[in-house]
Structures are given as C-alpha cells and as structure tokens.
C-alpha cells in the first residue's frame, strides 16, 4: 500500500470518528480531568507509556527527561504524560482569564515519528470531542527552537478556530545533536483545549471534575500568591545565588559523569533564570549571556548522556 493509501484509510477512520463526535457534543462536554483521562486512554491504546509529571519546576513539557534525553539515541520511545509548566512572567495575579504562570501541558513523544502521526493526532482531538467538520483545524507553520536546550525542530502550531491548541514538532536536534531517528512531539495546551471544549471564557470557570469543582476553586489562590512572589517578593540575591549554585552543581555532576542529575541542575538553573526575568533584573544584554550559560549546561548534560550510552554524535 502506498503512503497516500494509508492516509486515505486513516481519513476514513477519522470521518467515522467525527460522526461519533457529533453525537458526543450533544452531551455534556468533558471536564478538565476527563480530557486528561481520555487522552491517556487514547495514547495508551496507541502503545504509549503513560508517565507521571516530572517532579521539578520547568517551563515546558519538553524539559521532561522523557522528551529531552529520550529524544537522543537510536532507541524507539513512545510516551505520553501531563507536565505542569511554570512560566513566572506569564502570571497575571489571577486577573487575566487566559493566562497563568502555572498550567498543564499534555505531552506525547513518538520516536521514530510514525507516518500517520498527523492522523493519530487528529483522531485524538475527535476523542476529546472536537468535531473537525464544525471547527476549523489548521496546521500553521511554527518552527520550534529552544536556545536553552540547544534544540530545534520543524512543525506547526495547530489551530482550532484560530486558537493554538497544540504544538506539533519533528525534533531535528537536541542538545546540539542530530536526532537519529527523529521524534514527533505533540504538546497540547490543556487549559486552552478545555476552555474550547467547554465553551467557557475564563480558565477559572473550567469545570474541573464534572462534579462542581472549578479550576478556579483549585488554582486561583495559587495564581494570586505565586504571581505576587514571582514579580514582587522573590529575593533576587537568593535567586542569583541559587542560579550560581545550580550551575556549580551541574558542573560537579558532569565531572562525575552523571548526566541525569546534571540535567536536573540545568533545569533548575533555567527555572531560576525565568524567575529572575520575572523580577525584571536581567537586561536584554545580560539575558543572552545567562541563556548561554543554561544552554551550555543542557548541552553538556546531553553530551554526557550520549557518551554514557555509547552513542556517537
């Protein structure tokens, strides 16, 4: 069968699913946690290992070792997980209905990228109740680059009626190394998707559990307090100190040839740097040099990981 044949077969499957979805939308939309559960079910059915979140502060699911480190080397790897993300500068004291300094990404990594990855993704949208005949779903160019991870890839942001709901990337390089083979990464913005599916205008109004608990009930206080801390209270001297200590510890780990703990320190340095940014104490000129330091740590960790596994660049 040619690839276009496979594609057509997948399309047919999609239309069947879409027809089911139309019925689904008549029902009560999925709660926040049901969306996660559905995605877990769906990707579990596709053979993914369902992981739990990484227990460290990070700016994106891509920082999870299951993505960054596992994108390296030749071994196949299929995983899905929720990752809480912290972006201190995005905090709005709980006052903006669309922005949070702490939110959730649903992350899928498929390595090597399967030929029907786009269709697999579209089917996952149908599974959570988005009808592609009613909504405008589009793959819009968005090349991904993470200077802090020394990584880049090509792909799209997926739009649903003009809203970016997923970042879709074919990793080409990670930590400065060519990805052999290339992994496909899907990153769903869970809150945005849920707002869409539930038709609410504020994140805080999201139905969290389908049983009377809203997203705001759980997270509004967190947003208020964390925003205040991120922007106003966090002691910058402590943060500068933490940054330098994480850098030092990362170097220590690298010397001991321990790539995973080294990488954790790189993540830590990266998050502290984000906090310093939120405190507004890093100028445009200095920013590049800090990012350069974090990049060196992340790249060093990736390099050590490659070496530890005996993989050639």
């Amino acid at each position: 069968m040619t690839r276009s044949g496979a594609f057509a077969k997948a399309s047919a499957k999609l239309v069947a699913l879409a027809k089911k979805a139309i019925k689904l939308t008549d029902q009560k939309p999925l709660s926040f946690q049901q969306i996660i559960l559905k995605l877990h079910d769906y990707w579990s059915d596709q053979g993914c290992s369902i992981l739990q979140p990484y227990d460290m502060e990070m700016g994106a699911g891509t920082f999870h070792t299951a993505t960054t480190l596992r994108a390296l080397g030749p071994d196949p790897w299929n995983a899905a997980f929720v990752q809480p993300c912290r972006r201190p500068t995005d905090g709005r004291y709980g006052e903006n209905p669309n922005r949070l300094q702490h939110y959730y990404q649903y992350q899928v990594i498929l390595k090597p990228s399967p030929p029907d990855i786009q269709q697999l993704y579209l089917d996952s949208l149908t599974a959570i109740g988005i009808d592609p005949m009613l909504h405008d779903i589009r793959f819009v160019e968005d090349d991904w680059e993470s200077p802090t991870l020394g990584a880049w890839g090509l792909g799209w942001e997926v739009w649903c009626d003009g809203m970016e709901v997923t970042q879709f990337t074919y990793f080409q390089q990670m930590g400065g190394f060519d990805c052999k083979p290339v992994a496909g990464e899907l990153t769903y913005g869970l809150e945005r998707l849920a707002m869409y599916i539930q038709g609410v205008d504020s994140i805080y109004d999201l139905d969290y559990n389908g049983n009377g608990v809203s997203y705001g009930d759980i997270f509004l206080d967190n947003e208020k307090q964390m925003s205040e801390w991120n922007f106003e209270v966090a002691n910058t001297e402590t943060l500068f100190d933490l940054f330098n200590k994480a850098v030092g510890e990362c170097e220590n780990c690298l010397e001991a040839k321990l790539p995973i703990p080294a990488y954790e320190q790189a993540i830590k340095a990266s998050h502290v740097f984000n906090l310093l940014q939120a405190r507004g104490v890093i100028s445009v000129q200095e920013r590049a040099s800090y990012m350069g330091r974090v990049r060196d740590l992340a790249k060093g960790s990736c390099e050590a990981y490659m070496a530890k596994n005996g993989w050639a660049a």
């Binding site: 209905p97 922005r99 090349d143 009626d161 074919y170 990805c179 052999k180 100028s283 445009v284």
Partner: protein, 793 residues
Amino acid sequence: MANFLLELLSEEIPARMQAKARADLERLFVAQLSDAGLKAADIIVFSTPRRLALIAKDLPDQTEAVSEEAKGPPEGAPDQAVDGFCRKNGVTRDQLEVRDVKGRPTLFAVINKPGRATSDVLSEAIPAIIKAFPWPKSMRWGDASLSTESLRWVRPLSGIVAILGDNLVACEIDGVASGYETVGHRFHHDGVVTIGNAGDYAEKLRACHVLVDQAEREAIVRDGAAKAASGGGLELVADEGLVIENAGLTEWPVPLLGEFDPAFLDVPEEVIQLTARVNQKYFICRDKSGKLAPNFICTANIDASDGGKAIVAGNEKVLAARLSDAKFFWELDQKTPLEDHAKKLSNIVFHEKLGTVADKVERVAKLAEWLVSLEGNGFYQSSPGDTLHGEVSEAARLCKADLVTEMVGEFPDLQGLMGGYYAEKQGKSEAVANAIRDHYKPVGQGDQVPTDPVTVAVSLADKLDTLVGFFAIEQMPTGSKDPYALRRAAIAVIRLIEELNLRVSITAAIEQAFNIYMDVFVQRVSDISPEFKAFTESKSFEDPVSFRIIVDLVAPKGKNTGTEALSSLTTRLKLPPKGHEIIELAVGMAADPLKLADQILGFFADRLKVQQREAGVRHDLIDAVFALGGEDDLVRVLARVKALQAFVETPDGENLLAGYKRASNILKKEMKDSSAPAQAGAHLPHDTSDAPSGDGPLPTQGNKGLSYTPEKAEKALIDALDAAQPDVTAAIEAEEFEKAMTALANLRAPIDQFFEDVTVNDSDAEKREARLALLARFRAAVHQVADFSKIEG
C-alpha cells in the same frame, strides 16, 4: 504528444514558502527536461498547503535520437588505454573509427543514442528534482531518519502522483512510490482520489473540496473578504500579504466576518492591527468614516456544517482573549506614570561594564542637553531654562521607560511607539511624546530621519552614548559580528547629521559623552556615599572633573597598583560594595578619551565610506579629507569630499594631483636622505605619509628671505603660492570648497613649469633647501583642502 502531471503530496507546507516552491519546481523540471532535450509547450504549477503540482503540456513521447562523437587516444596507443576508452563509451573496439587530428591518426567512438521514452526520462527526473529541491528549511522524519543522510523535505513527503498521458510514470524515493492516488480535502473528503490524467486533476480535486490553483484561492480570499466586509457596511483594509498567506493556509478558503467588543478600540490601533494581522492572520476593517471598526475577517478552510457559526464564535473568542490581554497591559501601564516606570530601569543592566539602563538614560539626557545648547549647531539652539532644553531633558529621561511596561514586554516591536502613547496620555507635550516614540529612528537605510529637534537630540545622544560606551570597553564590531548594532548606530548618526545639516564636532561630542559617563558614575557613588561626595567636593579639579577624580583616585602611587589604590580608597571612605563596583566600572572604561575619539572617528569614516558608496562618492577622497586630521564635522567633510571629487576629475585636478605626487616624492626622499630638515625660513611639514600634515603653521611668504635670485619658474611658483594661499585659506574658512579648488587650480601651471625648468637638487645647498621648502609650501597649500597622498590614480 502527451500531458504530464506531477503532484508531490506532503504534510502542511508553510504558506510563505509556496510561491518560491512553485517557481523552483518549474525551474528544476524545465532543467531536467532540457538536459534530456525535451521541452513542454506550456508548464503550469500549483500549490496548496498539502501539495505542490505541475502540469507540462504536449511533451513528445520520446527524446530525439542523437549521435555523439568522443575523441579517444591516438591510433596505436597501448591496449589498456583503448580498452578503457571503449568501456567508457560503451562501444567495442571494431566500432572505433580512425580520423586525422592535426596530422595524427586518432581513434573516435561514434555513439548513437536512440531516443528515450519520455516516461523513462521522467522517472529519473522526479527523484532528482525532489533531492535537489531548495527548501529554505528542510527536515528528516520517520524510520529513515535513523540516518542523517535520509531524504529531506519541507515537511514529511507522503505521496507522488506522476502520470504521462494516462500512464503512470513509475518512480520511488525513500520508500514513497508514485501512483494515481492522492487525497482530497483533509476533512471534506473521505478516502483516496484517483486521478486519470493531467486533464482531470484540478476538476477531480475541486469535487473533493481542494482548489489547487492558488490564484483562484487568492481571488476567493481577496473578493470574499471584501464582500464580507461590505456585507457588514464596512471597508476592508486591503492586505495582499494576508491574501497570499491565507490562500497558502487553505485548500478551500471561506472568509468569514467576525466582531470584537468596541471597548477594545481604546487600545492603540497599531496594537490591534499587530494582534489581528500578525498573530491571527485576520483582515481588519474600517467604518465609513475611516475609523478602525470592531470587526475582523478570518479565513476558514472548511464549509462548516453550521455555516461557520462555531468557527466565527471560536475566532472571536481568541481575538477577544488576545485583545483583553492587550487592553489589560494598556490600562495597567497607564496606572504608573512614565517617570515611575523609568525608575525601574535602574534594575536593568544595560551592559555589565556600562551600568544600568537608568544610568544610560541619565547620560543620554545630559548629552542631549549639551547637543542642543551647542552654539552654531546649525539646527537648534537652546539654553538651560528654555522650552527646548526642558523638553529634550524630559524626553531623554523618559525615552526608555516603556521598556519596563507590560505592552512592550509582550510586543517588543512596539518599543518607542508605546512610550509615545503613554506620554501623550499623561499629557506630555507633543514634542516630548514624539521624541519618545521616534528616538530609535532612523533604524534602517529606508527609515525616515526624524526632524523634530527634540527627537533629533535624543536620538543622536542615545546612539553616541552607545558607541562611546562599547568602544571604551573594547566591544567594537569585528567582521560580521556586531552584537550591539554599533554599525547601525553609526550610520544613523551619519544620516541624522548629513540629512539635517547638523554642525557637530564628532570629537567634541565623543569627549563630552565620555565625560558624562564619568560624571554619572561619580554621581551614582556620591548618591550612596556621603563620604565620597564630601571627598570629591573637597577637591578642586580642572574640567572634566569626574574623569580627573577617577584617574586621580585610583592612579597607582608609589608601589601601589591601581587595584590597591582603589581598595585603600574604599577602606578610607568606607565605600559600600556597590560604590566600589561603580568605581571599578569607571576605571575599566577610563581609556584615553582622545584615543577613543580617534577610534570612533575612524569607525565613522569607514561607515561613511560604505554609506556614500551608493551615492558614487569615492572612498579614497573621504580618506584624503579625514587624513587632514582635526576634521570631524561630517557636514563639512562631505562638502569637501564632493568639491574634491568634482575637482580631481577635471584635467586641472588630474595635473595638480600629478604635480603634488612629484613634489611629495621628492620631499619624502629628502626626508629619508638627510635627517636634518631643510631650513630656509619655512617650516617643512613633518612627513610620514600617514601623519596628517594640515594643522601645522602654514609656511607663508617663503621667498622673502632668499639670498639668490630665483629662476623664472621658481619665482612664478612663489608668486602663484603667494596669490593662491590666502584665497584657499579664505575659501576654506568660508566653507566654499569649490572656490578653494579653483584657487588651487591656479597652481597647476606654475608647478608644472617649475618641474620643467628648475632643478631642485641644486649643488648649491642654499638653493636646494629653499626649493625644497617651496615644494613643502606647495604641498601644505594643497593640504589645506585634502591630503592628496591618499588619492588614488
């Protein structure tokens, strides 16, 4: 004759790449055909987000048979050579022919190539085209990407349709094989679409909700958007870039009109436009009176089952979210006056060796105040206390305040613009608001130079401050690296000065900027250390005070190094660590300000050469004028250069240059031969060819003390110099450079005659020295205009 269809199916191709991809596909295809001796009657190319396609009309069924000859070794060459030749050309030995080449019997192979089936040519051409395709960015994917040598395409290539007439052109690349089957619209069509031939391609796809012709989709977007707008009683703000982009994002475009809450119209238009166009690819509309309307037009890719209601509702929600973010920033930012925003600049490091952005702003203000109070600056005039002075001072101190606002944090492109808006809202004068908005200008070659005096002063001061700071810490651009955009800053300064005829001594401005750096450092330390303040006030220094303080304070004394001097000062004055740090910065910067000025002036000269090249101004003439030394008024430099260029291209100019070079060579030789300078009542300018020689005292009336009767030509030159020199000097003082050139031209005949008739190297030492002095006088006269030794030719 048959028509050929090629479709390369892939995952979504970025809209911005499609136009070039179509052109590349056609170009590569034509090249492949012509290599095989084939030509199509016509070629049409299509693109959609998911496919690139080409139809070639009336291709011959096969290529023409050709007969080629290959020249081989001479007859009787070793067997090895002959066999090799046969192998290479696919002939046997008995098929070789012998021909005479310049009297030498030589073997020839005649290779008859029968016509090849076009279909065979195409099955080789397609993979070759795919491999050679010049995507701006390409990628690897899937199982094959285990090797970095795997096929690269803009996004994964998923299928190939290749049909010549009604027949499949079989080919395969990296596991993707050609076939008759493609896909229709991603959501509107179920299953495969089987294409019969080039003739039914577009129509079959149309039936499956794919419009392959981008021009047709563009027309639908363009007309559909206009129609949607007029349907709402509005006028579309035409945007061809958006038309093309939306056509490149859709296979079945459906423009839809949406609206947003008019309350968002409080937000500046630029912000709304930026949000709608750049982030969402929406068209915007104006109402009948030309005001921005609370509407937008998005382009969907489906005929939705509900007529697009859900899509419009979704897009409205997205835009509302984005605009509410913008409105939130807009309102939040205004709650804080710019003066208070500006205070936060002291938390932002401008450069680790140059202090904070607040320091920079303070310096820019001081320098801008100095610039406007310069006498005869040719453009504006102010003194402390007047309106202009006050506005310059205020605008400079607020010009970077918007950097810490939320809006600029979100949309960095809006720096300056937002500051201008906030200043306006805060009731600042128009001149101040304009200066805050436009002080980054001119940004590029095409950008307009601001003309408002307040803006000009702040813009100039900002750029000069940056240049001086980074040069002082030796962060000048190298090769292609210019991380602080210093070249752009220098070009901006040149353009401001040149286009507005500003009369500023660059050297003086650089020294001033440097002293201001020191002033601000000293001021910062004084702010936090009363002991330091009292100490500096107790000292009496010449101007510039701060620089002397810094140098004096940390100058090595006795056995102490500078570092030790600084440490002992810190202890003695109980300086807080911050104060110590600041003084360290000042010491780090405290280069020789004159040397610094020289370096930066040289940088300006280089930028000027590059910038003026397009205008046809010769770089050697710019060098010739700068080589005079002391010339740092760019307006005057350019006037001189332009007059000089006109002059040296006349016969008078050429001959004078020749005479000058001859005189100069003789003088150079003499300087080398005798270490004692010639003495004949005239000063012989010191001479190394790169030392400027125009600023020494001018030798005048050099013939007065002659002890012998000069020869006729010698006398004529003396007289001509006596006559021309005052004219040249007066003309230059009046900045009438053409007149100066005319006066110089009068020296041409006498100098020619002098070399014709007079022996410089006379055996009489007195004559020889007097004549050398005369030549030196001649050279000095010419040097009043430019250093002619730098002129080429």
